[in-house]
Symmetry: C2
Subunit: 639 residues, 2 copies
């Protein structure tokens, strides 16, 4: 059947009840996109991740055969949405493992950690001086002996309050200035934004509006977009919101998304999705807090380099090609409206600076927030996301690398993996090698395992000798060890009341070990290259969206992090949003972020011959060299 036929078919999605009209020949994945329905898809529609399964209830279709579908699935009309073309009106069922739930829990802990961090930050590091501030300016009205023009009168009054050597005024502001100043007899509320060395008057209102000024800080993650709404008159976070990055339909990792955008020339579409997500968050908070969008005058964003490129529709294609170059690491402040962000029409958008194509502003935000750039002693900062980025350094130097750890600890590429949302196993213990205890986010029946749960699982399987030091499931007589359709697996939760079983497969374990090995090898390489010894390390900070609770010690047990005393391990949650807020609240902080980004040395692991050696050694649990992990050895009976 040709793609070129122009007849349209209606596709209904159950149980959601959404319908969409698409041309005959459209794939079900594309149809779902158009209907605004999220289907998991790691490979971006290439048919090899097997994530985008849906069940066809009715209608004609053409589906390419796939080894990722079992015979039973095929018999039940389960298909890969990306490999299935619509040939008639259809209805399909979207299994609930696709369902997108906004993980409020993750948000809450972020907000909590964040407020703690910024409380500290504000007291000790940066004084409060937001990037955009509103001043109450009182001028003497003109007289016959003082006929200074309104514009210069305003400047003079502003300069009495703040030190702004170079000033600019937006044109539309200038046009209405004369009228606005007279409305409250030369008492005015003036919104001034810092714009790369100059201060721009972005809004002038009558004096009575002096107390209304808000901003948003945004963490633009590959998986999750998080936003905080901040009252700029106090610097307090008054609301938080998060959503999944709806670019996910185009690939779970950003390299896939870049490829997709290139192949289909859909950069605009990818930007639209992301901007729409950010606008949704802002709108949701604004409505909840009864705030006019016009009163939100600034936004700061942190994220990996690719996400910032997508957000601004900068060309990201060179990020994935040697020699891996960004369009811009330092994005100048722009008018948020230019990027489609719906706040005050003249409000400013600040993107935190990045270091390189694979060390984004999220990592700079982490360094800023943890303060490792201020310390005498060395620290390590590890951010576990789609990649694992590592920073080592102190007040004198900073070196960083990006391990291609993969998104296993975000639940991607793991049979029962999921994000830290409701129903996710977030912690797990195996008692006496037998009884499995776990806790789910929200306390409901488990539907999958999130990052912290996966870390626990790997650690507990290892400590309880269910897997050996290479991660291989041992051929014991444990009935939970079975050959499933995805190969050898260990059942963690039995199927029950219509719920599927929760299991971890040999492939999952190998995947998780590759991730942890990538991170540890990167740490080793950075230490070796700087001749840093374990005892030189004061604190290891670990950031990422693991979930509510991360048992950091278990990251040591599996050999992901260095074996330092527990007091020197610190889980810091989402430091990307924290850095975005810190920068928003302090011009000095943003300047510091710029200095951090400038001074960080990027270490290219792929170009380093020792990286593979270190990676191979780290693919053991905890490591080939057991002397590196005395605490892990204590926990585990000798195999």
């Amino acid at each position: 059947m040709g793609d070129s036929e122009s007849t349209e078919c209606t596709v209904g999605f159950e149980p959601i009840g959404l319908k969409v009209k698409v041309p005959t020949g459209t794939t079900l994945l594309e149809a779902a996109h158009r209907a605004g329905i999220y289907l998991s898809s790691i490979c971006g529609g290439d048919g090899y991740c097997g994530k985008c399964k849906v069940i066809v209830n009715e209608g004609q279709f053409h589906s390419r055969p796939s080894p990722l579908l079992t015979t039973e699935e095929s018999r039940e009309n389960t298909v890969l949405a990306c490999q299935t073309k619509v040939l008639s009106d259809m209805t399909v069922t979207v299994p609930n493992f696709h369902s997108l739930e906004t993980s409020r829990v993750l948000m809450d802990i972020d907000a909590h950690i964040f407020s703690r961090l910024t409380g500290k930050t504000r007291e000790t590091l940066f004084e409060y001086s937001p990037l955009v501030q509103k001043l109450c300016v009182v001028m003497s009205p003109p007289t016959v002996v003082d006929h200074t023009a309104d514009h210069e009168r305003l400047y003079a009054a502003i300069r009495k309050q703040v030190d702004v050597p170079i000033m600019q005024t937006g044109f539309r502001v200038l046009q209405k200035l004369s009228k606005v100043l007279r409305e409250d007899n030369y008492k005015a509320a003036v919104t001034i934004g810092q714009r790369g060395g100059t201060a721009e008057v972005i809004e002038v209102e009558p004096g009575r509006r002096c107390k209304t000024n808000y901003a948003v800080a945004v963490d633009v993650g590959t998986t999750t977009v998080v936003a905080h709404l901040i009252d700029l008159t106090t610097g307090k976070t008054i609301d938080t919101e998060a959503t999944y990055n709806s670019q996910m339909n185009f690939g779970e990792d950003y390299i896939r998304r870049i490829i997709y955008a290139e192949q289909t020339n859909s950069f605009d579409q990818l930007q639209d999705r992301l901007v729409h997500d950010v606008n949704d968050l802002i709108m949701t908070m604004a409505v909840r807090q009864r705030i006019d969008l016009q009163d939100i005058t600034a936004a700061t964003c942190a994220g990996n380099t690719a996400m910032i490129h997508f957000l601004l529709n900068l060309d990201p294609t060179r990020i994935r090609r040697e020699p891996y170059v960004a369009s811009a690491a330092f994005v100048p402040p722009i008018r948020a409206a230019e990027a489609g962000i719906q706040i005050n029409k003249r409000g400013l958008l600040y993107c935190l600076p990045a270091v390189a194509a694979y060390i984004g502003s999220d990592i700079v935000a982490g360094v800023l927030t943890t303060g490792i750039y201020t310390k005498e002693k060395l620290s390590i900062f590890v951010d576990i996301g789609t990649n694992g980025e590592i920073v080592l350094g102190n007040k004198d130097w900073l070196i960083c690398a990006s391990s291609s750890a993969g998104p296993a600890f975000e639940g991607s590429g793991i049979k029962c993996g999921m994000r830290a949302g409701s129903g996710a196993i977030e912690s797990l213990n195996i008692i006496n090698g037998v009884e499995i205890q776990f806790k789910t986010i929200g306390g409901s029946h488990p539907i999958g395992i999130c990052g912290s749960g996966l870390l626990d699982t790997l650690s507990e399987l290892f400590v309880n000798a269910i897997i050996d030091r290479t991660g291989r499931l041992k051929a014991a007589d444990d009935p939970r060890l079975t050959e499933g359709k995805d190969g050898l697996q260990f059942q963690l939760v039995e199927p029950q009341n219509g719920h599927h079983e929760i299991a971890i497969t040999q492939a999952d374990i190998n995947n998780l070990i590759r991730s942890k090995a990538g991170v540890f090898a990167a740490i080793r390489i950075l230490m070796n290259s700087t001749q840093t010894k374990l005892d030189d390390i004061d604190t290891i900070y670990i950031a990422g969206g693991f979930g509510n609770f991360l048992n950091v010690q278990r990251a040591v047990t599996i050999g992901m992090l260095l074996d330092v005393p527990p007091a020197r391990l610190q889980f810091v949650g989402n430091t990307s949003i924290a850095g975005a807020k810190t920068s928003l609240c302090s011009q000095k902080a943003l300047e510091t972020a710029e200095r951090i980004a400038e001074s960080m040395t990027y270490f290219d692991l792929m170009g380093n011959p020792d990286y593979m050696d270190e990676f191979i050694k780290a693919k053991f649990l905890p490591h080939t060299d057991l002397s590196l992990f005395p605490s892990a050895i204590e926990l585990r009976p000798q195999a």
Copy 2:
């Protein structure tokens, strides 16, 4: 007949042949506006200037009686267009004294004087460093050991060539940067504009376009708008163009236009007109020179404060109300497109700074161009336009004032007055008190008298004792002295071959004397207030659109300017456009203009009790105090 009837009438204008449909009840002046026809109108439609005369050929109308129309005119169906309502389809004849001819002659001399001045300026005062410059930037392409992002790579390369501490990049430029840089393998043409202390990358193109960069300098006059097209790679003026300010239909002076705009809330319309004029000039030159508008990357404007407000649609209403305050004297650089100026979409518009509501950037441009702010000795700068602005000072101080001289020397309010266009008497001599010799612009039969001709006429009438020291036409037996329909008048040119006579009336003479007295009184007040003596004055510069040739000495004879030796009098033509170009070609010049504007002291003549005294004394020819004008006394036989 009610205005509210919604039927439409067609009004045809002869001999132009244009037709327009208007609602019944519309005035002929408004109908002419809509048809795009210029009718002279000093009063802006109030019916008291009597300039907007047209002849009704056919059709019904209602016209208010006016003392400004003779019985003969009324019989011939001559009406005041502003006082005449259309009641049916009509045809009217527009007398040719309304006809708008672009005064190329004036342009040519401007261009000439200008090129002379800037030649001097460039050699002696400012080095060539235009506000917007195009650099040819060659970068090393990224490698595995140098993966600096494109944006920072570009900045680094720019900074090797020019000293720009603070840089900004336009968002749209950033979006295409990656692609453009690769087009010529990291050789690029970068357009950088100075923007109030920062340098903005406003355009990036492939390297082969390094040599294409243009700009326009504009003098936004109340009467005439003049533009020069400049090749920014050389700094040379390659074309000039001028047009009448088409706001003239709304009043010949800017106070009238402000009143009109306020009464009819038509600020947008007035801006449109002016912006349209500027765009017309730019387009005409661009087409003639085969230049793409996108390659014009900057525009500078000078003009009186009101004109700059109209151009940018800043609120001008406070300019005419005590205490006479502008919205902005220092307008920050903006994107030209924001004001509707059609050059490169990201091109910049710079307005030269003004001093006050009645001392605009045209006067600052004059000070800049004449260089009086650099001199040890004192100079006077006089600009004769709609008002007469005077500046006195040297390198240490500058004081300025605006005399409400009125537009008499622009030909307004003078029976046979006209602008310096083809057919205007530009110089006039009376030989032996009898024979009148004159020269017209273009050499054709005279149709009126322009500024320089009026100055000559007044001077020659005085020197030949045809008028007395109060300006009164003497009741001699000269047949040229008659009682015309406009009162007592002196015929300069007889009617001939269907051409009207050219005469000067007693009212005209009084008008011209009031103008010259206003200027001289202002000079005296500024001198008195600074205790400046005649001998302290080194040079008097006189600027304005007088015409091709100004016999400056005659401005002394009538007592408009101080009686200094001829060598110390200098006619400098249109210094407004000259200053606009000088600023365009040198960042230092624009900064200097800003320092000039900041340092000039505005002297309010209206608030000075001595001004009226000085004015009354100066209403004599040349003055009550003859000892001030020894050279004038020599010329004239004692009365």
